[in-house]
Amino acid sequence: MSMATAEPASLKLVYFAWVRERIGLADETVTPPAGTATIADLVRWLKTRGEGYELAFENPAVVRAAIDQTHAKPATAITGAREIAFFPPMTGG
């Protein structure tokens, strides 16, 4: 059995609303470093990737995440995820 973090997998990231605007991308495919186990880990790594990311996640508690189109928490494991989304609190309805 191989460990999930042994070989960094490529991951689709999608961004919405002001998260999308601050990062300047609607989506991208990334390969996070080994040891990126949770949403919080992923955010920490994304913040090192430039000013837009830093601005988008300046208050990480505000940004929501979804793994494969299901709401996720900062501590949720991203193992096996195909698509991870980041967005502000929802304002639909």
Binding site: F16, A17, H71, A85, P88, P89, M90, T91, G92, G93
Partner: protein
């Protein structure tokens, strides 16, 4: 009973949706509809632009509608949420719940709306009457509190 969920750019016709949802089921005694409309905010607003997360929007509303269907004995449940540019007076969202008795129809519609507000991946941005682009609408604590009533 499988809830119906539609995410669409087009407007909807409340009367036609109620008729379609209740047709041919004489066990239905109560139908509650909720329609959310775009307000002009005392003339400040020219339009709301609704961005959404395609795929997740359907999936998430479907999950919450399924929870409502498990919680109340419903004969029909429908949710429609529009995206794109919506002007004041136009319709944004529709929920219809049909059941034998009124209590469950009211509660299911109320529940589904509260969860739509806080869990459905939609984001509103203001277009202002002066022609400029306004900011993203901020989520309301009140909406979170409303959703917590059901847990």
């Amino acid at each position: 009973m499988t809830p119906l969920v539609r995410i669409q750019r087009e407007d909807f016709d409340i009367g036609a949706e109620i008729a379609a949802l209740t047709a041919g089921d004489p066990s239905i005694g109560a139908v509650v509809s909720f329609a959310g409309l775009c307000r002009d905010e005392s003339g400040r607003l020219a339009a709301l632009e609704l961005e959404h997360y395609p795929g997740m929007a359907e999936a998430e509303i479907g999950r919450v509608a399924g929870e409502a269907a498990g919680r109340w004995p419903l004969a029909g449940l429908l949710a429609i949420h529009r995206f794109g540019l919506i002007k004041p007076g136009e319709q944004i969202v529709l929920v219809i719940a049909a059941s034998s008795h009124r209590r469950e129809a009211f509660e299911a519609a109320d529940f589904l709306m509260d969860y739509l507000k806080t869990r459905a991946p939609f984001w509103k941005r203001e277009h202002l009457a002066d022609g400029t682009l306004g900011g993203w609408v901020e989520a309301k604590d009140d909406d979170d509190k409303a959703a917590e009533r059901w847990s």
